[in-house]
């Protein structure tokens, strides 16, 4: 069975910097931080981390109420990002219902805020009389994918992978495989998440959340830096329109990049702690899927969330494959960890780097932790051709994923 080539023809982002892929790229290249102190978090007992990178105010009313009523913020972010990806790809609302387009969008969980709101009311008198009909549609695991498909009239396949921090990458990877196999011609792929204090608490309880920069939020997170102290939680959505090369050429639309490799695997050594060997194996599998050698990679976009163990393990895995040659950076320093969205927001930023011939450095990386392997850490923006990129995501639960992109056309 011959596989189809898969390209990216549209990208949409709702990030802590606001709406739009260009907004995101401009902020990243300008070295801005979206991390802020969140005063409301002070009211939560036991939560030490009081920083986050939240999506600034956006107007959701572009989405008709009929569709918006079943959406929590994560679905709103995903839908707006889909609007932008489709517009860039020149895919009309009518074409969304052709059956050729599918959806592969996931989140870490359904809306925790909606669940909290429901149970806050339920526990008053244990009555279900005040439960709205749209409650379930906001908390179900495939809330984002289903809401997007409803809002856009998509009639193809729906997939809603969920693998915590690897969700966005999984969504893209599985969409890529689906198109390669010829099951769909186009797929809206990505991840979305909305901030809830429980997310920050999840990392805080494992001593993996940033807690020492509550009064100087833009100095955290600090991937690979010796002063790093953990994850900063964030929210948003990143959506890529993947499409078979044949379809893109037939539609005569600009091609942003080609997806040439994807790998994912389970690391059963620990549900929480990363393992360099499993990370290395994942990247090697992705390179093998792409049919390229490590020497062909121009840039590694690291998962690097600024945890003590994760950054060390990932640096070791990258060093084993790429040595100290290939430039490496993490985008968490700019906008924190957008969780399920991180894979796809950061991947579309990689596309932006390829298109702008510029590499974004790791914000807040001042002094590399001696425990990290001696990589070519990017500490300032670099310009030059970026033709092949590998992007990592490693999730709680032992779920590793890597995606390889190549510029299009290529030599």
């Amino acid at each position: 069975m011959s596989l189809k080539r898969v390209v990216i023809t549209g990208a949409g982002s709702v990030s802590p910097f606001g709406r739009g892929s260009d907004t995101l790229m401009d902020a990243l290249l300008a070295g801005r931080s979206a991390v802020r102190n969140i005063p409301d978090l002070e009211r939560i007992g036991g939560l030490r981390s009081r920083v986050a990178a939240l999506v600034p105010s956006i107007d959701p009313k572009e989405i008709p109420r009929k569709f918006r009523r079943s959406m929590s913020p994560m679905s709103i972010y995903a839908t707006l990002a889909c609007y932008d990806a489709l517009a860039q790809a020149g895919l009309s609302p009518e074409e969304c219902g052709s059956g050729l387009l599918g959806v592969s969008i996931g989140s870490t969980v359904g809306s925790t805020a909606t669940t909290e709101e429901f149970f806050r009311d339920f526990f008053v008198d244990h009555s279900l009389e005040r439960m709205k009909t749209t409650f379930f549609f906001q908390i179900m695991n495939h809330s984002c994918a289903a809401n997007v498909a409803q809002a856009l009239g998509v009639t193809g396949r729906i997939l809603s992978p969920s693998a915590a921090c690897s969700t966005g990458s999984h969504a893209v990877g599985y969409g890529y495989e689906m198109i390669a196999m010829g099951r769909q011609e186009q797929m809206l792929c990505g991840g979305a998440d909305e901030f809830h204090p429980l997310t920050a608490a999840t990392f805080d309880v494992m001593n993996a959340a940033s807690v020492h920069f509550n009064d100087s939020p833009t100095r955290t997170p600090r991937p690979f830096d010796r002063e790093r102290d953990g994850v900063v939680c964030a929210e948003g959505a990143g959506i890529l329109l993947l499409e078979s090369l044949d379809s893109a050429l037939a539609r005569r639309v600009p091609i942003l990049a080609e997806v040439i490799g994807f790998a994912t695997l389970s690391d059963p050594s620990s549900i929480a702690n990363p393992d360099a060997g499993a990370m290395e194996r994942c990247m090697q599998l992705a390179l093998a899927d792409a049919g390229i050698g490590a020497d062909e990679v121009d840039y590694v976009n690291a998962h690097a969330t600024a945890t003590e163990q994760g950054d060390v393990a990932e640096s070791e895995a990258i060093f084993r494959i790429f040595g100290d040659r290939v430039p490496v950076s993490s985008l968490k320093g700019h906008m924190g960890h957008t969780m399920a969205a991180s894979g796809s927001i950061e991947l579309l930023a990689c596309v932006g780097m390829m298109l702008r011939s510029a590499l974004v450095p790791t914000l807040n990386l001042q002094n590399v932790d001696p425990a990290c392997s001696p990589l070519n850490y990017l500490r300032q923006a670099e310009s030059g051709d970026v033709k092949v990129v590998i992007k990592n995501n490693f999730a709680l639960g032992g779920v590793n994923s890597s995606i390889v992109l190549r510029s299009y056309p290529h030599d």
Binding site: R65, K66, R69, E129, R130, K132, T133, T134
Partner: protein
């Protein structure tokens, strides 16, 4: 509450819940045709009205016959008066 106050509370509650324009909410306005509401909205409308007036109406047969805003106004006014008499 006067009948007019009841009507105003109904309209403002529905306008907030369903993002409606108060200026376009006349008694003749139909829920499904003019306002574009559907079966899910109808269930939520009952919850909104129960919250706004502090009564239970979900099991009332008469709700199934409601088609216009005027139908709602008359139903709620009747229900309010009925409860006041019982009290």
């Amino acid at each position: 509450m006067t009948d007019q106050e009841i009507i105003e509370r109904i309209n403002s509650s529905l306008a907030e819940e369903f993002e409606l324009d108060l200026a376009e909410m006349t008694p003749e306005t139909t829920l499904y045709g003019d306002l574009g509401l559907d079966s899910l909205d109808t269930v939520d409308m009952v919850i909104v009205l129960e919250g706004a007036f502090g009564f239970k109406i979900r099991e009332e047969e008469a709700i199934r016959e409601i088609r216009t805003l005027d139908d709602i106004h008359r139903f709620v006014i009747s229900k309010k008066r009925q409860l006041e008499e019982t009290a």
